[in-house]
């Protein structure tokens, strides 16, 4: 069912962008955390997104098989858009900034503190990008809803 599909696709986009926003908020909140869960400075996290059915997964293989089969039988239903999913939340491996602050409890022998590798400006840009993408998905959802409502008006 085409229109319900597009609502589900937009919903997957909404939750992906919300997760991106959550992770960015976590990065910002921990911009000064010199002790993470493992005792090391906090590491910046980022979300890896993946199109559903992309990158050689089972769904793609199935769709390809269906396409090959469809060519033989004349049936062209099969691979359809499926939205977006979160592939992983990965930590940024770059080294953190070292700040001279001998009074800090986490300062090393030379008086330097390793700060988290979070750049506030990058996080703000990510935040805006996620927010705009979220809006784009709500617009797509709104359009699908209008289309569906219009179709229902046929029954009046």
């Amino acid at each position: 069912m085409g229109l319900f599909d597009s609502l589900a696709i937009s919903a997957s986009g909404l939750s992906a962008e919300r997760l991106r926003m959550d992770v960015t908020a976590e990065n910002l909140a921990n911009a000064q955390s010199t002790q993470g869960a493992d005792g090391q400075p906090y590491r910046r996290k980022s979300v890896v997104l993946q199109a559903v059915g992309a990158q050689g997964g089972f769904a793609q293989a199935l769709a390809a098989a269906q396409t090959a089969n469809a060519a033989a039988t004349g049936d062209t239903s099969g691979a359809q858009p499926g939205g977006v999913q979160v592939a992983a939340i990965v930590e940024d491996p770059t080294a953190g900034r070292r700040v001279y602050n001998p009074g800090h409890p986490d300062a090393d022998g030379q008086g330097y503190v390793t700060m988290p590798n979070v750049d506030t400006v990058t996080e703000m840009v990510d935040l805006i990008s996620a927010s705009r993408a979220y809006e784009a998905n709500t617009t797509a959802m709104q359009t699908a809803k209008q289309m569906f409502t219009k179709t229902l008006e046929l029954l009046r």
């Binding site: 085409g2 229109l3 599909d5 597009s6 696709i9 937009s10 997957s12 986009g13 992906a16 962008e17 991106r20 890896v48 997104l49 993946q50 199109a51 992309a54 990158q55 049936d75 062209t76 239903s77 099969g78 691979a79 359809q80 858009p81 499926g82 939205g83 977006v84 990008s129 996620a130 705009r132 993408a133 784009a136 998905n137 617009t139 797509a140 959802m141 359009t143 699908a144 209008q146 289309m147 219009k150 179709t151 008006e153 046929l154």
Partner: protein, 136 residues
Amino acid sequence: MKVQGRAALHGPVPMELFDATQQLLMGALRGAATRQSALAQNLANANTAGYQRVDVDFHSALQQAAEDMRSGADSSPADLEFRAQADPQQMQVDGNGVDVDVEAANLAQNGLEYQALVSVMDARTRILQSAIGAAR
């Protein structure tokens, strides 16, 4: 007997309820709905690295079907299956091919087109209702 009016120009007036126009309308509606999914997919993956945009070119499929009908083929445009096609291009450094502004414009255009199709379908239904005396 001399045939007059519209029939004289175009041959016999079609008597079936689901004439060529109705079948093309039904095909176009399904095409626009499928395209809506494809465009929603593009927007959902606006931040997916390496994602390539997809689109459904249902206009040319319908045009082909209309030509087939005119040449007397026995297939109905209402039975057409539409499929999202990859449309590779690069917009961002991470290999993503989605231009959010273009997608938003396509989405708005497709939505309006769908609504226009539904309006035409609605008007045709009302004409039929009027003809059979069931109009309110």
